[in-house]
Amino acid sequence: MRKSTVIFLFLAVAIFISGCAEEESVKLVKLSPPDMLEQIKIGKIDAFIAWEPFPSKAAKSGQKILMSSGDIWKNHPCCVVAYKVGKADEKMLEALVWAHVKATRFINDEKNWDKVVSYASQFTGLDEETVKMALRNIKYVEYPDEKEFRHYYEFLKEAAILKKSVKELGYESEDEFFEKFLRRDIYERVVTKLEENPNYVPEKAGKIRLGYITADLHHLALYVALKEGYLDRVFEDVDLKQYPNGVAIMEAFKLGELDAAYLGGAPATLKRINDEIEISIIAGVNNEGSALVVKKEINSPKDLAGKTVAIPGFGTVQDFLMRKVLKEGGLKVS
């Protein structure tokens, strides 16, 4: 009794001392982007970082955009198209990449601006003025830059967020891992065929189960591919599934619910390694396209000391960007 009491009391004291010793650092909390808008309004959080269109929506309702993600890291890769290795066959992948490239080119074609704005508005449920603002912050791409992409990996590794090394996954080196993880060959094949024949359409595939994130303007290409009929031309059946964030999509991959999905490159990398969920990236979706929204009184990243900042999830692109901002501002996460 006496000995155990001493141990308990010691534990209790230790817990309370450590609880009180909270230094001046930034508190990261996880919130869904719609909640971020609500909570910054009522003052529960001081800042948030999220994908478009939420920053533009916040800006419209009186919040301040401190930095766009392009300011944090120029041309950073963001979302990608990934597939579950072993689930999807080559025919299906070629069809998907084709539809995605067609849709991305549609979006990037100046002629289609009005149509793109109207699609974006339908996809996110926001007015055209807001989506126009948001669209300007997003760069829709067909394939991410491998060098920039490896930047994520280095960061995750350095921050000790990655738990395993690529060796533990059975790769000789990081180069070998990335060769398998970033599969460029399908994209290149499709592009070459399109160059030879702009009217090229791949062979029709069967059913695809395709995941994406709710109201994430980054994933506009998916919506365009659907609306412009690109997907219907190459698939007999398209089963679309919505998820709240990239981590949830990776969980769905693990459970075998999906053949392919649009998701952030960071959670894709993180969960690929930590949980050994075997996926590969077959196309890029966008660069940049997120922003850090703050309350009016915050004027620089340094002002975030002691504040609460919301991120859409741990291990997301936005978490990554936020940590980069904090690191450069000399602040710690708590």
Binding site: F16, G19, L28, K30, D35, K163, V247, G315, S334
Partner: protein
Amino acid sequence: MKQKIYSALLFVFLWYLLYFLNVLPAFHVVVVTFLMLVVKAEPVLGKTLLQHAASSLLRVLAGAIVAFSISIPLGILMWFSRIYNLLHPAIEVLRPIPPLAWIPLSYILFASFPNPTVFAQIFIVAVGAFFPSFVTISDYVRGVPQEFIELAKVFGAKSFDLLTKIVLPYSLPGIITGVRVGLGVGWMSIIAAEMIATSGSGLGYFILVMYEVGGRMPEIIAGMAMIGLIGYSMNTLLFKLEERFPWRLKSGT
């Protein structure tokens, strides 16, 4: 003591069995992870396990104080049959509602508060701690032996004397049992509430985020061990206190 050592050895042995079957991480890895997390901040959330424990404990304490400051006096007042008849049916209907079922309602109730998540969590703990403590205390109070009442009456006790000199001291071990059981349920409630709400800290939040980030089974198990350790400590301390009352009614641990 020998028995305890055997039981611990068996536990570790079974654990390694599961490790070799690739179900769990190795026991020593979890132990090292636990010790590291106690002293060193975990990088994703930037907090040590003790800091998360402190957050959870503070919320439990706040909720429990709210719960007990109602359940103790109200439980004692249940001695009066009129109050008992008035409250008993209502309590019996509210009691089976699990604390977590109060979450949506509590979010609506506290939506306009400065920190709705924390208020809602404290509220959920309070609901969780209230019912078991109230029921335990009122059971004790209702069970005050008639002999003691008769004795006090022979010597001229008034209603107030009966309450303060017989009912209250007789129910003291019941109050401690109530506090113990209430804290136990409150502790489970806060861990669960943290896993649902985006609370930013706390052991429940910790293990959930560790799951989401992935590849962190040792961290998750270390968090669970901390949850168990704290729950066990609270229960044991109060149980030891309870055992000092020779007239306590026997209750489960």
